[in-house]
């Protein structure tokens, strides 16, 4: 008996280096002790076997960072959400309206984050949540646009995302959105910059591996906006994309550019089935 145990331990120790500390862990994400999140699920069919399972970035963070996301009192992203909740009720612009004037409570936004980016029939374009927020501000409130990746905007996206927390991401990729989705897919697999790397080089081929001190995830966006310990505020999807493209020593696209809108639709669709997690906590 004793002997057997020892062999098992020795075998484990031997197996570790090849298994690597690196793979996604098996922890469970339950928020506030009650809301169970889907953080691993079968990959959507459109991935055609490129991934067998899609995994939230939460699994690739260390225990302390993970814990911060498990309780809203510890989740520093909630500060941004609170700031946005005030803005939700604040009248702004020539029409004398706030978000609440048209939408009532922020809870009415339940389900919205899960399906964005989304085709807007009247405008004839795929819209991110940021674009929709600015459309409400300009056409309904007569207010100024918010800066696409500014704090006010990102916090507002945080407030709206929170209403869908725990719901499965479910963006549509067919019909009128398909052309944009295809463009996003093309961008995802295009190698850029002097390092000549694509999103797939890091997040499809090498997730689970370490790139220097960074534990590579699948680069999913179900957790956005993400409160990053690095800059102590909520960060939007395009801001993250920009950083990753820059790190290939490439000329980046701008936040809110058609390229990043298309890429966002595509990357969101890679996470179809994962729970909406925003606001999440990341390094």
């Amino acid at each position: 008996m004793k002997f057997k145990q020892m062999t098992a331990i020795a075998a484990l120790a031997l197996a570790l280096p090849t298994l690597s500390l690196a793979d996604a862990d098996d922890d469970k994400l339950v928020i506030n002790g009650e809301l169970e999140m889907v953080t691993k699920t079968a990959a959507p069919a459109h991935l055609d076997g490129a991934l067998s399972e899609v995994i939230s970035g939460w699994h690739f963070r260390d225990d302390d960072t993970q814990k911060m996301q498990m309780d809203d009192f510890d989740n520093a992203g909630m500060l941004g959400v609170e700031a946005a909740a005030e803005m939700w009720n604040a009248v702004d612009g020539s029409e004398g309206k706030s978000c609440a004037s048209c939408h009532g409570e922020a809870e009415s936004m339940k389900g919205v984050r899960a399906v964005y980016p989304k085709w807007n029939e009247a405008a004839g374009e795929v819209r991110t949540l940021e674009m929709q927020i600015n459309d409400c501000r300009t056409t309904r409130m007569g207010a100024e646009e918010l800066k696409y990746a500014g704090d006010e905007m990102t916090n507002m996206v945080g407030l709206i995302s929170l209403q869908s927390r725990g719901m499965p991401v479910n963006v549509a990729i067919d019909g009128p959105a398909q052309a944009t989705w295809e463009q996003g897919k093309e961008l995802y697999y295009t190698r850029t910059g002097q390092l000549d790397l694509s999103c797939a080089s890091c997040h499809e081929q090498n997730y689970g591996n370490m790139i220097r001190a960074d534990h590579l995830s699948q680069g999913q966006i179900n957790g956005f906006p993400a409160y990053r310990l690095k800059n102590a505020k909520l960060n939007g999807v395009h801001n993250r994309f920009k950083g990753c493209v820059r790190d290939t020593r490439a000329e980046t696209y701008k936040e809110g550019s058609p390229e990043f809108i298309a890429l966002e639709l595509y990357v969101a669709s890679r996470g179809n089935g994962l729970s909406v997690e925003g606001p999440s906590i990341r390094n």
Binding site: G193, Q194, D196, N206, N209, M210, R212, K242, R246, E251
Partner: protein, 156 residues
């Protein structure tokens, strides 16, 4: 006078005393992706090569590669294979080829080409995210490449 300044500038750009390194466009590869001729014509310095290998601001090879025998590497990654023994398994020409443009050895690899200045999609100005203001410099100078090759050759 003029001439001296020019030569000085050229050798500074190359990172050291070699005024005439092989230009990135003139490197000759074998069919297997190796590069037989030294890029500088002089032997590399292995200690210097280790610095280039491990320094984040230079080669940053350690971002993807570990060398188990070197416990002084900080945060080695594992995107690429461990390089213990690579000096045994690979010739100097092969190592030089892999550093210069690894895609000629490993088709489609994620390992960057360290001595290549064109053929990129949306290359930027270093890590600024902006468009480059002039022609690109290779990620490593000819001399740095030779130093790293010399260092890797010691891994036996």
């Amino acid at each position: 006078m003029r001439l001296t300044t020019l030569t000085l500038a050229a050798s500074l750009a190359a990172g050291a005393a070699f005024a005439n390194p092989v230009a990135p466009a003139d490197v000759v590869f074998t069919d297997d992706g190796a590069v037989e001729a030294s890029l500088t014509g002089a032997p590399g310095n292995p200690e210097q090569g280790f610095k280039v290998f491990s320094d984040k601001k230079q080669g940053n090879c350690v971002a993807c590669h570990n060398i188990e025998a070197r416990t002084d590497l900080s945060f080695p990654g594992n995107v690429g294979p461990m390089l213990d023994g690579v000096g045994e398994n690979r010739s100097v020409a092969e190592l030089r080829g892999i550093l210069t443009n690894s895609k000629n050895t490993f088709e489609g690899t994620v390992m960057p080409a360290y001595y290549k200045v064109d053929g990129f999609t949306r290359p930027g100005d270093d890590y600024t995210g902006k468009a480059p203001s002039g022609p690109l410099s290779p990620l490593l100078s000819a001399e740095q490449i030779e130093d790293v090759v010399a260092f890797l050759s010691t891994l036996k």
